[in-house]
Protein backbone atom coordinates (compact mmCIF):
# COMPACT_ATOMS: atom_id res chain seq x y z
CA UNK A 1 0.00 0.00 0.00
CA UNK A 2 1.26 3.43 -0.97
CA UNK A 3 1.89 5.70 1.98
CA UNK A 4 3.34 9.05 2.90
CA UNK A 5 6.24 8.05 5.14
CA UNK A 6 8.66 9.92 7.32
CA UNK A 7 12.20 8.69 7.72
CA UNK A 8 15.45 9.93 9.23
CA UNK A 9 18.63 10.37 7.28
CA UNK A 10 21.12 7.77 8.50
CA UNK A 11 23.96 8.49 6.13
CA UNK A 12 25.18 10.45 3.16
CA UNK A 13 28.11 9.63 0.98
CA UNK A 14 29.56 11.34 -2.08
CA UNK A 15 29.69 8.69 -4.81
CA UNK A 16 31.01 10.85 -7.65
CA UNK A 17 31.59 14.62 -7.81
CA UNK A 18 27.94 15.08 -8.86
CA UNK A 19 26.23 12.09 -7.33
CA UNK A 20 25.71 11.27 -3.68
CA UNK A 21 24.06 8.38 -1.91
CA UNK A 22 21.42 9.17 0.68
CA UNK A 23 20.47 6.54 3.22
CA UNK A 24 17.41 6.92 5.37
CA UNK A 25 15.15 4.92 7.61
CA UNK A 26 11.62 3.85 6.70
CA UNK A 27 8.78 1.80 8.11
CA UNK A 28 8.66 -0.17 4.90
CA UNK A 29 8.60 -3.93 5.27
CA UNK A 30 9.31 -4.42 1.61
CA UNK A 31 10.11 -2.59 -1.60
CA UNK A 32 10.75 -4.62 -4.72
CA UNK A 33 13.46 -3.69 -7.25
CA UNK A 34 11.98 -1.41 -9.89
CA UNK A 35 9.56 0.24 -7.47
CA UNK A 36 10.40 3.82 -6.62
CA UNK A 37 9.78 6.54 -4.11
CA UNK A 38 8.95 10.17 -4.39
CA UNK A 39 10.69 12.56 -2.01
CA UNK A 40 9.41 15.93 -0.84
CA UNK A 41 11.96 18.61 -1.80
CA UNK A 42 10.89 21.98 -0.43
CA UNK A 43 10.50 24.59 -1.76
CA UNK A 44 9.70 22.71 -4.96
CA UNK A 45 6.02 21.98 -5.61
CA UNK A 46 6.48 18.45 -6.84
CA UNK A 47 8.15 15.53 -5.15
CA UNK A 48 11.17 14.05 -6.92
CA UNK A 49 11.00 10.38 -7.98
CA UNK A 50 13.99 8.13 -7.29
CA UNK A 51 14.71 4.49 -7.96
CA UNK A 52 15.86 2.39 -5.04
CA UNK A 53 19.55 1.47 -5.14
CA UNK A 54 19.35 -0.68 -2.03
CA UNK A 55 17.09 -1.69 0.83
CA UNK A 56 18.02 -3.54 3.98
CA UNK A 57 16.42 -3.55 7.45
CA UNK A 58 14.18 -0.66 6.51
CA UNK A 59 17.08 1.53 5.36
CA UNK A 60 16.59 2.86 1.85
CA UNK A 61 19.50 3.86 -0.37
CA UNK A 62 19.02 6.25 -3.26
CA UNK A 63 21.52 7.80 -5.61
CA UNK A 64 20.95 11.48 -6.28
CA UNK A 65 22.53 13.67 -8.90
CA UNK A 66 22.49 17.32 -7.90
CA UNK A 67 20.75 19.09 -10.74
CA UNK A 68 18.41 21.79 -9.46
CA UNK A 69 16.80 23.30 -6.42
CA UNK A 70 15.07 20.09 -5.33
CA UNK A 71 18.14 17.90 -5.39
CA UNK A 72 20.17 20.70 -3.78
CA UNK A 73 17.75 20.52 -0.88
CA UNK A 74 18.33 16.78 -0.60
CA UNK A 75 22.08 17.36 -0.76
CA UNK A 76 21.77 19.68 2.23
CA UNK A 77 20.24 17.00 4.46
CA UNK A 78 22.36 15.77 7.34
CA UNK A 79 22.26 12.68 9.49
CA UNK A 80 19.18 12.78 11.70
CA UNK A 81 17.22 15.14 9.44
CA UNK A 82 13.68 14.17 8.59
CA UNK A 83 12.75 13.08 5.10
CA UNK A 84 9.19 12.88 3.77
CA UNK A 85 8.52 10.41 0.98
CA UNK A 86 5.81 8.51 -0.78
CA UNK A 87 6.42 4.78 -1.22
CA UNK A 88 6.36 2.14 -2.49
CA UNK A 89 5.34 3.43 -5.92
CA UNK A 90 4.94 1.70 -9.26
CA UNK A 91 5.39 -1.87 -10.40
CA UNK A 92 8.60 -3.88 -10.24
CA UNK A 93 11.07 -5.88 -12.30
CA UNK A 94 9.86 -9.44 -12.71
CA UNK A 95 12.89 -11.10 -11.03
CA UNK A 96 12.43 -14.20 -13.14
CA UNK A 97 14.60 -17.21 -12.65
CA UNK A 98 16.58 -16.51 -15.83
CA UNK A 99 20.20 -15.72 -16.53
CA UNK A 100 20.08 -11.93 -16.51
CA UNK A 101 22.07 -9.17 -18.14
CA UNK A 102 21.56 -5.81 -16.45
CA UNK A 103 22.41 -2.80 -18.59
CA UNK A 104 22.71 0.60 -16.96
CA UNK A 105 23.82 4.03 -18.04
CA UNK A 106 24.83 6.85 -15.72
CA UNK A 107 22.55 7.40 -12.74
CA UNK A 108 20.15 4.86 -14.32
CA UNK A 109 22.44 2.24 -12.82
CA UNK A 110 20.92 2.88 -9.38
CA UNK A 111 17.84 0.61 -9.48
CA UNK A 112 19.88 -2.09 -11.20
CA UNK A 113 22.21 -2.28 -8.19
CA UNK A 114 19.27 -3.29 -6.01
CA UNK A 115 17.88 -5.59 -8.69
CA UNK A 116 21.29 -7.26 -9.04
CA UNK A 117 21.48 -7.82 -5.33
CA UNK A 118 18.00 -9.36 -5.13
CA UNK A 119 18.52 -11.58 -8.17
CA UNK A 120 21.76 -12.90 -6.69
CA UNK A 121 20.01 -13.63 -3.38
CA UNK A 122 17.67 -15.85 -5.37
CA UNK A 123 20.63 -17.65 -6.89
CA UNK A 124 20.09 -16.18 -10.34
CA UNK A 125 23.19 -15.66 -12.45
CA UNK A 126 23.61 -11.99 -13.34
CA UNK A 127 25.96 -9.61 -15.07
CA UNK A 128 25.65 -5.87 -14.48
CA UNK A 129 27.27 -3.63 -17.08
CA UNK A 130 26.97 0.11 -17.18
CA UNK A 131 28.18 3.09 -19.13
CA UNK A 132 29.47 6.37 -17.70
CA UNK A 133 30.60 9.59 -19.33
CA UNK A 134 33.87 9.76 -17.41
CA UNK A 135 35.93 7.96 -14.75
CA UNK A 136 34.67 10.39 -12.13
CA UNK A 137 31.06 9.42 -12.74
CA UNK A 138 31.44 5.67 -12.19
CA UNK A 139 29.00 4.21 -9.69
CA UNK A 140 30.47 1.31 -7.75
CA UNK A 141 28.88 -2.13 -7.81
CA UNK A 142 28.92 -2.95 -11.53
CA UNK A 143 30.60 -6.07 -12.93
CA UNK A 144 31.90 -4.13 -15.91
CA UNK A 145 31.87 -0.47 -16.86
CA UNK A 146 32.34 1.42 -20.08
CA UNK A 147 33.73 4.92 -19.81
CA UNK A 148 32.95 7.35 -22.64
CA UNK A 149 31.00 6.33 -25.73
CA UNK A 150 27.87 4.27 -25.31
CA UNK A 151 27.19 1.11 -23.33
CA UNK A 152 25.18 0.00 -26.35
CA UNK A 153 28.47 -0.61 -28.20
CA UNK A 154 29.28 -3.33 -25.66
CA UNK A 155 25.91 -5.02 -25.41
CA UNK A 156 26.25 -7.41 -28.35
CA UNK A 157 29.60 -8.61 -27.04
CA UNK A 158 28.06 -9.46 -23.67
CA UNK A 159 25.03 -11.11 -25.25
CA UNK A 160 27.39 -13.35 -27.24
CA UNK A 161 29.63 -14.16 -24.27
CA UNK A 162 27.17 -14.27 -21.36
CA UNK A 163 24.18 -15.57 -23.33
CA UNK A 164 21.47 -13.97 -21.17
CA UNK A 165 17.87 -15.17 -21.20
CA UNK A 166 16.68 -11.84 -19.89
CA UNK A 167 17.83 -8.22 -20.09
CA UNK A 168 16.91 -5.50 -17.60
CA UNK A 169 17.77 -1.88 -18.23
CA UNK A 170 17.45 1.62 -16.87
CA UNK A 171 18.94 4.77 -18.36
CA UNK A 172 18.39 7.24 -21.19
CA UNK A 173 15.53 6.47 -23.56
CA UNK A 174 17.84 5.79 -26.49
CA UNK A 175 19.50 2.97 -24.52
CA UNK A 176 16.14 1.46 -23.55
CA UNK A 177 14.79 1.74 -27.07
CA UNK A 178 17.83 0.19 -28.71
CA UNK A 179 17.97 -2.65 -26.20
CA UNK A 180 14.27 -3.36 -26.70
CA UNK A 181 14.88 -3.71 -30.42
CA UNK A 182 17.93 -5.90 -29.80
CA UNK A 183 15.82 -8.10 -27.53
CA UNK A 184 13.08 -8.47 -30.14
CA UNK A 185 15.63 -9.24 -32.89
CA UNK A 186 17.41 -11.87 -30.81
CA UNK A 187 14.42 -13.27 -28.96
CA UNK A 188 15.50 -12.15 -25.49
CA UNK A 189 12.97 -10.70 -23.02
CA UNK A 190 13.79 -7.10 -22.17
CA UNK A 191 12.38 -5.12 -19.25
CA UNK A 192 13.03 -1.40 -19.12
CA UNK A 193 12.49 1.09 -16.29
CA UNK A 194 11.16 4.31 -17.81
CA UNK A 195 11.49 7.87 -16.60
CA UNK A 196 9.13 10.79 -17.29
CA UNK A 197 8.24 14.14 -15.76
CA UNK A 198 5.86 13.21 -12.97
CA UNK A 199 3.47 15.10 -10.70
CA UNK A 200 1.36 12.89 -8.41
CA UNK A 201 3.23 9.58 -8.66
CA UNK A 202 -0.01 7.66 -8.07
CA UNK A 203 -1.68 7.66 -11.49
CA UNK A 204 -4.09 10.55 -10.98
CA UNK A 205 -2.66 13.42 -12.99
CA UNK A 206 -1.75 11.48 -16.15
CA UNK A 207 1.27 13.71 -16.59
CA UNK A 208 3.77 10.88 -17.11
CA UNK A 209 2.11 8.80 -19.82
CA UNK A 210 3.84 6.85 -22.56
CA UNK A 211 2.37 4.90 -25.48
CA UNK A 212 2.30 1.13 -25.12
CA UNK A 213 0.72 -1.69 -27.10
CA UNK A 214 -1.72 -3.71 -25.02
CA UNK A 215 -3.66 -6.51 -26.72
CA UNK A 216 -2.79 -5.05 -30.10
CA UNK A 217 -4.13 -1.61 -29.21
CA UNK A 218 -2.01 1.49 -28.70
CA UNK A 219 -2.85 2.95 -25.31
CA UNK A 220 -1.42 5.50 -22.89
CA UNK A 221 0.10 4.06 -19.73
CA UNK A 222 1.19 6.02 -16.66
CA UNK A 223 4.87 5.47 -15.91
CA UNK A 224 4.11 5.94 -12.21
CA UNK A 225 1.50 3.20 -11.77
CA UNK A 226 1.53 1.02 -14.88
CA UNK A 227 5.34 1.28 -14.83
CA UNK A 228 8.03 2.32 -14.33
CA UNK A 229 8.92 -1.17 -15.60
CA UNK A 230 7.62 -2.11 -19.03
CA UNK A 231 8.40 -4.92 -21.42
CA UNK A 232 10.67 -3.45 -24.06
CA UNK A 233 8.50 -5.02 -26.73
CA UNK A 234 5.31 -3.24 -25.61
CA UNK A 235 6.64 0.32 -25.53
CA UNK A 236 5.85 2.46 -28.59
CA UNK A 237 9.06 4.47 -28.90
Amino acid sequence: MKKVLKGKVTGREQVTPEVFELRFSSELAEIIPGQFLSILCPPKTLRRPFGVAGFENGILRVLIRVKGEGTKYLASLKEGDEIDFLAPLGNNFSLENKKSLLVGAGIGTAPLLYLNCELKKRGIQTLLISGFKSEGEIVQGCDSVKVGGSILDEVQHYINEFKPEKIYSCGPEIVLKTLSQTGMDQNIDVEVAMEKHMACGIGVCRGCVIDVMRNGVKTKASVCVNGPVFKGSEVVW
Partner: protein
Protein backbone atom coordinates in the same frame (compact mmCIF):
# COMPACT_ATOMS: atom_id res chain seq x y z
CA UNK B 1 -18.65 20.08 17.99
CA UNK B 2 -18.50 22.67 15.25
CA UNK B 3 -20.60 22.58 12.13
CA UNK B 4 -18.46 22.63 9.00
CA UNK B 5 -21.32 22.10 6.60
CA UNK B 6 -22.10 24.57 3.89
CA UNK B 7 -24.82 24.99 1.33
CA UNK B 8 -24.11 26.29 -2.12
CA UNK B 9 -27.67 27.16 -3.05
CA UNK B 10 -29.34 23.76 -3.12
CA UNK B 11 -26.11 21.78 -3.17
CA UNK B 12 -25.10 20.51 0.26
CA UNK B 13 -21.51 19.93 1.37
CA UNK B 14 -20.58 18.39 4.72
CA UNK B 15 -17.54 20.68 4.72
CA UNK B 16 -16.21 23.27 2.27
CA UNK B 17 -13.17 21.30 1.03
CA UNK B 18 -13.29 19.71 -2.41
CA UNK B 19 -10.71 18.05 -4.64
CA UNK B 20 -10.40 20.06 -7.86
CA UNK B 21 -11.00 18.68 -11.32
CA UNK B 22 -7.98 17.11 -12.96
CA UNK B 23 -6.24 16.55 -9.66
CA UNK B 24 -8.65 14.12 -8.03
CA UNK B 25 -9.21 11.44 -10.63
CA UNK B 26 -12.66 9.98 -11.21
CA UNK B 27 -13.63 8.51 -7.88
CA UNK B 28 -11.60 6.93 -5.10
CA UNK B 29 -8.04 7.40 -6.42
CA UNK B 30 -6.91 8.95 -3.13
CA UNK B 31 -8.57 6.21 -1.10
CA UNK B 32 -5.21 4.89 0.10
CA UNK B 33 -4.43 8.24 1.70
CA UNK B 34 -7.73 9.46 3.13
CA UNK B 35 -11.43 8.70 3.36
CA UNK B 36 -12.69 10.49 0.25
CA UNK B 37 -16.28 10.32 1.49
CA UNK B 38 -15.30 12.67 4.32
CA UNK B 39 -14.56 15.54 1.91
CA UNK B 40 -17.06 18.19 0.91
CA UNK B 41 -16.98 16.73 -2.59
CA UNK B 42 -14.65 15.69 -5.35
CA UNK B 43 -14.82 17.22 -8.79
CA UNK B 44 -14.13 14.61 -11.42
CA UNK B 45 -11.60 14.89 -14.18
CA UNK B 46 -13.05 16.79 -17.15
CA UNK B 47 -15.36 14.40 -19.01
CA UNK B 48 -16.15 14.69 -22.71
CA UNK B 49 -18.75 12.95 -24.87
CA UNK B 50 -16.18 10.67 -26.45
CA UNK B 51 -13.03 9.31 -24.80
CA UNK B 52 -9.95 11.47 -25.38
CA UNK B 53 -6.32 10.36 -25.49
CA UNK B 54 -4.94 13.72 -24.43
CA UNK B 55 -1.79 15.39 -25.67
CA UNK B 56 1.38 13.83 -27.00
CA UNK B 57 4.76 14.98 -25.77
CA UNK B 58 5.81 16.48 -22.46
CA UNK B 59 2.73 17.15 -20.36
CA UNK B 60 4.22 18.72 -17.25
CA UNK B 61 6.62 21.49 -16.42
CA UNK B 62 7.44 22.66 -12.92
CA UNK B 63 7.75 26.39 -12.29
CA UNK B 64 8.61 28.42 -9.22
CA UNK B 65 5.79 27.52 -6.80
CA UNK B 66 3.65 25.87 -9.43
CA UNK B 67 3.29 23.60 -12.39
CA UNK B 68 2.22 23.92 -16.01
CA UNK B 69 0.18 21.07 -17.40
CA UNK B 70 -0.96 20.22 -20.87
CA UNK B 71 -2.67 16.90 -20.26
CA UNK B 72 -5.16 17.74 -23.00
CA UNK B 73 -8.38 16.57 -21.32
CA UNK B 74 -7.47 12.91 -21.45
CA UNK B 75 -10.52 11.07 -20.13
CA UNK B 76 -12.57 7.91 -20.55
CA UNK B 77 -15.64 9.67 -21.99
CA UNK B 78 -19.10 9.95 -20.44
CA UNK B 79 -20.30 6.41 -21.24
CA UNK B 80 -17.31 4.72 -19.61
CA UNK B 81 -17.52 7.16 -16.71
CA UNK B 82 -21.12 6.20 -16.00
CA UNK B 83 -20.43 2.50 -16.43
CA UNK B 84 -17.04 2.05 -14.79
CA UNK B 85 -16.32 5.06 -12.56
CA UNK B 86 -19.65 6.22 -11.14
CA UNK B 87 -20.55 2.94 -9.37
CA UNK B 88 -17.54 3.26 -7.05
CA UNK B 89 -18.43 6.89 -6.24
CA UNK B 90 -21.88 5.69 -5.24
CA UNK B 91 -20.65 2.62 -3.38
CA UNK B 92 -18.24 4.75 -1.35
CA UNK B 93 -20.84 7.41 -0.72
CA UNK B 94 -18.61 10.12 -2.17
CA UNK B 95 -20.22 13.50 -2.83
CA UNK B 96 -19.20 14.52 -6.33
CA UNK B 97 -19.47 17.09 -9.06
CA UNK B 98 -19.02 16.00 -12.64
CA UNK B 99 -16.77 18.31 -14.65
CA UNK B 100 -17.77 18.48 -18.31
CA UNK B 101 -15.90 19.78 -21.34
CA UNK B 102 -16.51 19.99 -25.07
CA UNK B 103 -15.66 21.90 -28.20
CA UNK B 104 -19.14 22.92 -29.37
CA UNK B 105 -22.47 23.89 -27.83
CA UNK B 106 -23.82 20.59 -29.13
CA UNK B 107 -21.13 18.61 -27.24
CA UNK B 108 -21.84 20.34 -23.97
CA UNK B 109 -25.60 20.14 -24.39
CA UNK B 110 -25.51 16.43 -25.19
CA UNK B 111 -23.36 15.88 -22.12
CA UNK B 112 -25.72 17.94 -20.00
CA UNK B 113 -28.64 15.83 -21.23
CA UNK B 114 -26.83 12.61 -20.34
CA UNK B 115 -26.08 14.04 -16.89
CA UNK B 116 -29.71 15.02 -16.48
CA UNK B 117 -30.96 11.58 -17.55
CA UNK B 118 -28.55 9.92 -15.14
CA UNK B 119 -29.51 12.22 -12.28
CA UNK B 120 -25.97 13.56 -11.80
CA UNK B 121 -26.55 15.95 -8.87
CA UNK B 122 -24.06 18.64 -9.89
CA UNK B 123 -21.97 19.52 -12.89
CA UNK B 124 -19.10 21.95 -13.28
CA UNK B 125 -18.71 23.30 -16.80
CA UNK B 126 -15.14 23.78 -17.96
CA UNK B 127 -15.40 26.68 -20.40
CA UNK B 128 -11.68 26.98 -21.07
CA UNK B 129 -11.97 24.65 -24.05
CA UNK B 130 -11.62 26.01 -27.56
CA UNK B 131 -14.87 26.53 -29.44
CA UNK B 132 -13.98 24.90 -32.73
CA UNK B 133 -17.04 26.35 -34.45
CA UNK B 134 -15.97 29.85 -33.59
CA UNK B 135 -12.39 29.54 -34.73
CA UNK B 136 -11.05 28.10 -31.50
CA UNK B 137 -11.89 31.06 -29.29
CA UNK B 138 -12.50 29.83 -25.80
CA UNK B 139 -16.12 29.87 -24.69
CA UNK B 140 -14.93 31.24 -21.41
CA UNK B 141 -13.48 34.45 -22.81
CA UNK B 142 -16.45 35.57 -24.93
CA UNK B 143 -19.47 36.77 -22.91
CA UNK B 144 -22.01 36.19 -25.70
CA UNK B 145 -20.70 32.72 -26.56
CA UNK B 146 -20.62 31.85 -22.87
CA UNK B 147 -24.19 33.08 -22.38
CA UNK B 148 -25.46 30.95 -25.27
CA UNK B 149 -23.52 27.92 -24.03
CA UNK B 150 -24.81 28.12 -20.48
CA UNK B 151 -28.39 28.81 -21.64
CA UNK B 152 -28.26 25.65 -23.71
CA UNK B 153 -26.81 23.59 -20.88
CA UNK B 154 -29.36 25.04 -18.46
CA UNK B 155 -32.23 23.96 -20.70
CA UNK B 156 -30.86 20.43 -20.80
CA UNK B 157 -29.88 20.01 -17.16
CA UNK B 158 -31.96 20.46 -14.03
CA UNK B 159 -29.30 19.70 -11.44
CA UNK B 160 -26.86 22.07 -9.76
CA UNK B 161 -24.99 23.94 -12.49
CA UNK B 162 -21.55 25.37 -11.75
CA UNK B 163 -19.52 27.30 -14.30
CA UNK B 164 -15.75 27.31 -13.87
CA UNK B 165 -14.37 30.61 -15.07
CA UNK B 166 -11.03 31.17 -16.71
CA UNK B 167 -8.74 33.94 -15.43
CA UNK B 168 -7.37 34.55 -18.92
CA UNK B 169 -9.56 37.59 -19.57
CA UNK B 170 -9.20 41.35 -19.27
CA UNK B 171 -12.49 41.76 -17.43
CA UNK B 172 -14.24 39.02 -15.46
CA UNK B 173 -17.50 40.91 -14.80
CA UNK B 174 -19.09 40.52 -18.28
CA UNK B 175 -18.51 36.76 -18.01
CA UNK B 176 -20.04 36.61 -14.55
CA UNK B 177 -23.00 38.55 -15.91
CA UNK B 178 -23.34 36.10 -18.81
CA UNK B 179 -23.25 33.08 -16.52
CA UNK B 180 -25.75 34.53 -14.08
CA UNK B 181 -28.17 35.67 -16.78
CA UNK B 182 -28.02 32.23 -18.37
CA UNK B 183 -29.25 30.66 -15.15
CA UNK B 184 -26.17 29.03 -13.65
CA UNK B 185 -26.38 28.18 -9.94
CA UNK B 186 -22.79 28.76 -8.94
CA UNK B 187 -19.38 29.95 -10.13
CA UNK B 188 -16.05 28.31 -9.51
CA UNK B 189 -12.94 30.42 -10.00
CA UNK B 190 -10.30 30.14 -11.16
CA UNK B 191 -9.20 27.69 -13.81
CA UNK B 192 -5.49 27.62 -14.73
CA UNK B 193 -3.60 30.59 -16.14
CA UNK B 194 -2.04 30.30 -19.56
CA UNK B 195 1.67 29.76 -19.27
CA UNK B 196 4.71 28.55 -21.17
CA UNK B 197 7.52 26.50 -19.74
CA UNK B 198 10.76 26.43 -21.72
CA UNK B 199 12.82 23.34 -21.06
CA UNK B 200 16.26 24.42 -22.19
CA UNK B 201 19.62 22.69 -22.19
CA UNK B 202 22.95 23.19 -23.92
CA UNK B 203 25.29 20.40 -24.95
CA UNK B 204 28.25 22.67 -25.69
CA UNK B 205 27.32 23.00 -29.35
CA UNK B 206 23.55 23.17 -29.65
CA UNK B 207 20.66 24.29 -27.51
CA UNK B 208 17.89 21.75 -26.98
CA UNK B 209 14.50 23.19 -26.17
CA UNK B 210 11.01 21.94 -25.46
CA UNK B 211 8.10 24.35 -25.12
CA UNK B 212 5.42 23.29 -22.68
CA UNK B 213 2.42 25.54 -23.33
CA UNK B 214 -0.38 24.85 -20.90
CA UNK B 215 -2.21 25.81 -17.74
CA UNK B 216 -0.33 27.20 -14.77
CA UNK B 217 -1.54 26.14 -11.33
CA UNK B 218 -0.29 25.91 -7.77
CA UNK B 219 0.67 28.37 -5.06
CA UNK B 220 1.92 30.95 -7.56
CA UNK B 221 -1.58 31.65 -8.87
CA UNK B 222 -3.24 32.27 -5.49
CA UNK B 223 -3.04 36.09 -5.64
CA UNK B 224 -4.67 36.06 -9.08
CA UNK B 225 -7.41 33.76 -7.82
CA UNK B 226 -8.04 35.88 -4.72
CA UNK B 227 -8.23 39.02 -6.81
CA UNK B 228 -10.77 37.50 -9.19
CA UNK B 229 -12.91 35.90 -6.48
CA UNK B 230 -12.97 39.30 -4.77
CA UNK B 231 -14.18 40.94 -8.00
CA UNK B 232 -16.76 38.25 -8.66
CA UNK B 233 -18.10 38.55 -5.10
CA UNK B 234 -18.57 42.29 -5.58
CA UNK B 235 -20.55 41.65 -8.73
CA UNK B 236 -22.87 38.71 -7.97
CA UNK B 237 -24.76 36.95 -5.21
CA UNK B 238 -24.26 33.54 -6.78
CA UNK B 239 -22.34 31.13 -4.57
CA UNK B 240 -18.63 31.03 -5.38
CA UNK B 241 -16.25 28.11 -5.13
CA UNK B 242 -12.75 29.54 -4.78
CA UNK B 243 -9.66 27.74 -6.00
CA UNK B 244 -6.12 28.49 -7.05
CA UNK B 245 -3.09 27.63 -4.97
CA UNK B 246 -4.79 26.53 -1.77
CA UNK B 247 -2.36 24.55 0.39
CA UNK B 248 -3.01 25.60 4.00
CA UNK B 249 -5.92 26.42 6.28
CA UNK B 250 -4.94 30.08 6.18
CA UNK B 251 -5.19 30.02 2.40
CA UNK B 252 -8.77 28.82 2.85
CA UNK B 253 -9.51 31.64 5.26
CA UNK B 254 -8.15 34.13 2.73
CA UNK B 255 -10.55 32.79 0.11
CA UNK B 256 -13.46 33.01 2.57
CA UNK B 257 -12.40 36.56 3.37
CA UNK B 258 -12.71 37.64 -0.26
CA UNK B 259 -16.08 36.00 -0.63
CA UNK B 260 -15.69 32.33 -1.49
CA UNK B 261 -18.40 30.05 -0.07
CA UNK B 262 -16.54 26.79 -0.59
CA UNK B 263 -13.13 25.76 -1.85
CA UNK B 264 -11.32 23.40 -4.13
CA UNK B 265 -7.79 22.15 -3.71
CA UNK B 266 -5.86 21.22 -6.83
CA UNK B 267 -2.12 21.02 -7.37
CA UNK B 268 -1.32 20.55 -3.68
CA UNK B 269 -2.92 17.08 -3.86
CA UNK B 270 0.01 16.01 -6.03
CA UNK B 271 2.49 17.01 -3.34
CA UNK B 272 0.49 15.95 -0.30
CA UNK B 273 -2.08 13.33 -1.28
CA UNK B 274 -3.90 13.60 2.05
CA UNK B 275 -3.97 17.43 2.08
CA UNK B 276 -7.75 17.69 1.69
CA UNK B 277 -8.33 15.66 4.85
CA UNK B 278 -5.70 17.70 6.72
CA UNK B 279 -7.38 20.94 5.65
CA UNK B 280 -10.76 19.72 6.93
CA UNK B 281 -9.30 18.78 10.29
CA UNK B 282 -7.20 21.96 10.55
CA UNK B 283 -10.28 24.05 9.86
CA UNK B 284 -12.34 22.12 12.36
CA UNK B 285 -9.66 22.53 15.02
CA UNK B 286 -9.32 26.25 14.35
CA UNK B 287 -13.08 26.76 14.61
CA UNK B 288 -13.27 24.73 17.80
CA UNK B 289 -10.41 26.56 19.47
CA UNK B 290 -11.79 29.95 18.50
CA UNK B 291 -15.45 29.29 19.14
CA UNK B 292 -16.80 29.55 15.64
CA UNK B 293 -19.75 27.18 15.87
CA UNK B 294 -20.63 27.28 12.21
CA UNK B 295 -18.85 27.97 8.96
CA UNK B 296 -21.18 30.91 8.35
CA UNK B 297 -20.04 32.52 11.59
CA UNK B 298 -16.43 32.09 10.57
CA UNK B 299 -17.09 33.60 7.14
CA UNK B 300 -18.99 36.46 8.72
CA UNK B 301 -16.08 37.27 10.99
CA UNK B 302 -13.67 37.11 8.05
CA UNK B 303 -15.77 39.50 5.96
CA UNK B 304 -16.30 42.17 8.63
Amino acid sequence: MVDLSCKLGRFYLQNPVMGASGTYGYNNEYGEFLDVSKLGAIVTKGITLEPREGNEGQRLFETASGIINRIGLENVGIDAFLKTKLPLIQKRNINYILNIAGSSIEDYTSLALVCNDNKIPAIEVNVSCPNVHKGCLEFGTEPQALFELICSIRRAYEGFLIVKLTPNVTEIEPLVQAVESAGADCISAINTLKGLGVDLSFDGVNFHKTFVQGGLSGKCIKPVALSLVNKIRAFTHLPIIGLGGIATMWDMLEFFAVGADALQVGTENFTHPSICASLVSDLEKFMQENNFETLDKLKEALRK
